[in-house]
Amino acid sequence: MKENKSRKKLAAGLIIVIIAVGTAAVKIGAFLPTIGDADTPANSYVANYYITNAVKETHSYNIVTAVLADYRGFDTLFETCVLFLSALVTMMVLFGKEKVPKMPVKNLAEDKYSAAFGGDIMDASFRIVVPIILIYGIYVLFHGEISLGGGFQAGALIACAYLLDRIIPSIRMGRGKIKEETALIIASMGAFFYVITGILPMFNGGNFLEFAKLPFGSSLAAESIVKLHTAGILMIEVGVTVCVMGVIIAILEVVLERTDFDE
């Protein structure tokens, strides 16, 4: 009896909140720029600069990646640091505590009747899906500045591929298992690679993360300086991908270590 009373209270509160905020928001909405028109201050100042000369300056067709990796590259660096940090915190909080006793490795082949999550259908389809995801991830990584895509998506996709292999208990159980510490180290290497690409221009007289001043290819002609931007963005994308992949694998490894999938 007690709990559905509290649920009614919860529902009542919810309705009150919705009505109250709804009426308030109607008034607030009036001041905000109407959606869709192009001459609001938000769309007219810095944004137009990005659109008009993103391609010229950073040689990347996808303006969002240009803004993300080049104009505001510093933000993305600390974005990857946020991810790396969250993996670090997960490791610190969960590592080595309440380990689930490793269940004996059952060879699923003989155990016909186990309604295990794996089984042959899953195994067959799994063998096709994983390579496709991997290729797609790599594609997304290297086409970040031309079509959609970028470091985060690529890293996450590759981690998904690994995840599929890790979760579905197929016959070749636990073949490619990465220990969580190594995953964390991979992640830190990725982030460090990003920092290195930032530091390199500093030796060549540029500011931090200034791709025009990347030290290699000094012999390039003037107009190809812009190509350095592409190199810079690519290096960043690789760094981000490696870091994101390491982070996601590390988090999931730590967590999988603690759960048993035996039902």
Partner: protein, 130 residues
Amino acid sequence: MSELIEKLEFFLADRGIYMLTLILFAVAVYGMIACGNYMKKLMCMNMMQVSIIFFFLTFGQKNGGTLPVAIDEVLSAEAYINPLPHALMLTAIVVSLGTTGVGLALLMRIKDIYGTIEEDRITGDGGKKQ
């Protein structure tokens, strides 16, 4: 029928979308505060972040603008959607994954210590009473 849709669309454009976003934000914040179960709090937190992200993206919209990928020669700023909110919101989404990840890790740790993730049972003996 069509002028009804016309009027509705104008209302939505002017303030309808903002109203709905702010309602989603309020519901999510209410969920975070009122929900007893810590896991649900985390879900509501994620929803709150999604509503803020969407709120940012609505600024960038332009009628008739295409995706901010300059396939051919760049004609004019009108043609493309404003890329800046998109870049910012990529960061915000990644940050929301970070915080959710940390939240879940803490949740598991709380489960080990207290054996439950019901707020009243935890604060009953530990958290708030001190």
